[in-house]
Symmetry: C2
Subunit: 361 residues, 2 copies
């Protein structure tokens, strides 16, 4: 079996990559959680049947299990749903060795992960991601949390999983729009860290969109490796190194905020944000036209949006970007490419350039 090893000293763990091996979770959990004999399996309405299979293989491998299915959707990342998970853990008389197993997308992973981070001052966590976004991004790196009514992901903790089990066959039922949205983060890894991987993506875009298993494993595995490389260097976002992962995200955050509920999916916003960021880098004199052209072509092939929506007021977008967490003291800060496979932080970008770039079709 292919796997990616995340090296974080005593918090190191393995990301297993496989296809159509649902019965593999149990043995993997046995290895990743040697001291655990009980597990709470968390899923949402759309992943409950996958979670059932996971629960069966955990039971077959000596785990006592309980399960909770939360409603699907971002609204589930709330203190109220968190409290339900605490209740479930209490009801199963969880102790510090009881594992939380999150079977779902980023919502289930972030919520279940935060419950694991905070129940009894920390339970072991196994991630079983079922969306493209969760496989390549949210289940790697240890960020867990829920939303505050006024802001996304405001409440949270770093809590590394004890293992991640990725079965690409779980993607079979994922709606196409969700799948494509996850590919935006994959493209991001190529642009910020790995030119040959970007070449790969161009060459294999068709197989990827067809969800060809070997291609999926390669692309997901490489994405996990690249994210893990960054996380290994800056586990708790302290040195600024982890900020490279925010490429495209200052714009994306503005699109998501102004677009509001029913607007773009996260990856869609990231796609358009990366197009803006590359254009900004070009106007700022950092790169020539080729990077932006190739990125635009690939995102277009993946059916992702590549520009802001004309109906979103420019002034509102700018205002959100100035309040962005990555903005120190209201300055406009961007992660921008200096060549394909390399980005840097810039905090001296004139607002006029940003407006130009947002206005481009």
């Amino acid at each position: 079996m292919e796997s990616v090893h995340v090296r974080l000293g005593p918090r190191s763990y393995e990301i297993a990559l496989t296809t159509a091996q649902p019965a593999g979770v149990g043995p993997f959990a046995r290895r990743a959680l040697p001291a655990s004999t009980a597990a709470l399996v968390v899923s949402d309405a759309n992943t409950a049947s996958l979670a059932n299979d996971v629960e069966a293989t955990l039971r077959a491998n000596g785990f006592r299990t309980a399960s909770v299915t939360v409603p699907a959707g971002e609204g589930t990342k709330s203190l109220a749903e968190l409290s339900n998970l605490y209740d479930a853990l209490y009801a199963m008389t969880a102790d510090r060795r009881t594992a939380v197993v999150a079977v779902g997308g980023g919502v289930v992973g972030d919520l279940g992960g935060f419950a694991a981070a905070t129940y009894n001052r920390g339970l072991p966590l196994l991630m079983v991601p079922t969306t493209m976004l969760a496989m390549v991004d949210s289940s790697v790196g240890g960020k867990t949390g829920v939303n505050h009514p006024k802001g996304k992901n405001l409440i949270g903790a770093f809590h590394q999983p004890a293992g991640v089990w990725i079965d690409t066959a779980f993607l079979d039922t994922l709606p196409d729009r969700e799948f494509r949205s996850g590919l935006a983060e994959v493209v991001k890894y190529g642009v910020i860290l790995d030119e040959p991987f970007f070449d790969d993506l161009e060459a294999n875009a068709g197989d990827l969109l067809a969800r060809e298993p070997a291609t999926l494993r390669h692309v997901v595995g490489r994405s996990c490796r690249l994210k893990a490389d960054v996380v290994e260097k800056d586990e708790r976002e302290e040195t600024g190194l982890r900020a490279v992962l925010n490429y495209g995200h200052t714009f994306a955050h503005a699109f998501e905020t102004v677009g509001g509920y029913g607007g773009w999916l996260h990856g869609e916003a990231v796609a358009a944000g990366m197009v803006c960021a590359a254009r900004l880098a070009e106007r700022h004199g950092l790169i020539g036209p080729v990077l932006g052209q190739r990125q635009l072509a690939l995102l277009t092939k993946f059916g992702l949006p590549t520009a802001s929506k004309p109906e979103w007021p420019m002034d509102e977008l700018i205002a959100v970007m100035r309040r962005d967490k990555k903005a120190a003291g209201g300055n406009l800060r961007f992660i921008l490419p200096t060549r394909l496979g390399e980005v840097r932080l810039f905090d001296d970008v004139p607002e006029a350039l940003v407006r130009d770039v947002l206005a481009a079709p």
Copy 2:
């Protein structure tokens, strides 16, 4: 100024010990939190006026401040009050450098500390303990958390403070019963770790009860040092070493649970628990009679209870002890003294002995 240094690598911090220097908090906070320019000051109804003084000195030292006063009492360690703190942090547009300053007893420290542990994945925390228990125990060691409706401290995180400011004059308004209750944990440190300190306590019991400032600083400082020594060796309660701090606590937990609301304060339960534990060690053949006699005399001098209440049903007490977190698989486990200044974990204590000990007057 006297101080105790807690050595935890990058999470090291200083515990400052002083008397009647309320204006010292601001400069101390400046040193302990060099990157912070804003602080949320948390207090309860009985510490609000102390918190006012703290806020003033923080402002005088360049901090923008906001404050929240929560109701006094254990019920405040709830998800609902936690949510109020999150709201206050949001309202002051807290970022990762915004500090939480907890001015109060263990309730304020645990609640404020957990908010700090989980807002924005971790804010710096300054502890300003105002009860004896908080000064010698809860503000040292990084445990933070709130209660689950079904169990105490079930929800929590390890989050070390950036500094602890102890001003013994804050104890001036503390009710006598609360003060004496905190002394139980002080006696505990002597018994489990430090015979000369136990001798000191016997020699200076009168000064201590009179809250003589130099005696208070010595006793609080030594207690912090002893707890810090243990925490430095087992920061996250992983090796079992930190378990020595649970001396007397298996019994205490049973007394608190069966006694319920309106029963003993925590330290009162710990005092009676330590008497039971010493007696158990004697019956188990680990020690002679002297340790128990000296401990009993000192606790009596401190006006603390030294036996279970006759009206508490023995079977219920035993049942709670078997469910105790420290009990693996329903076994009875105890931290017992092997001599004054040394304890070990025993999991082979016959239930009959435990019953004998509980029945003693």
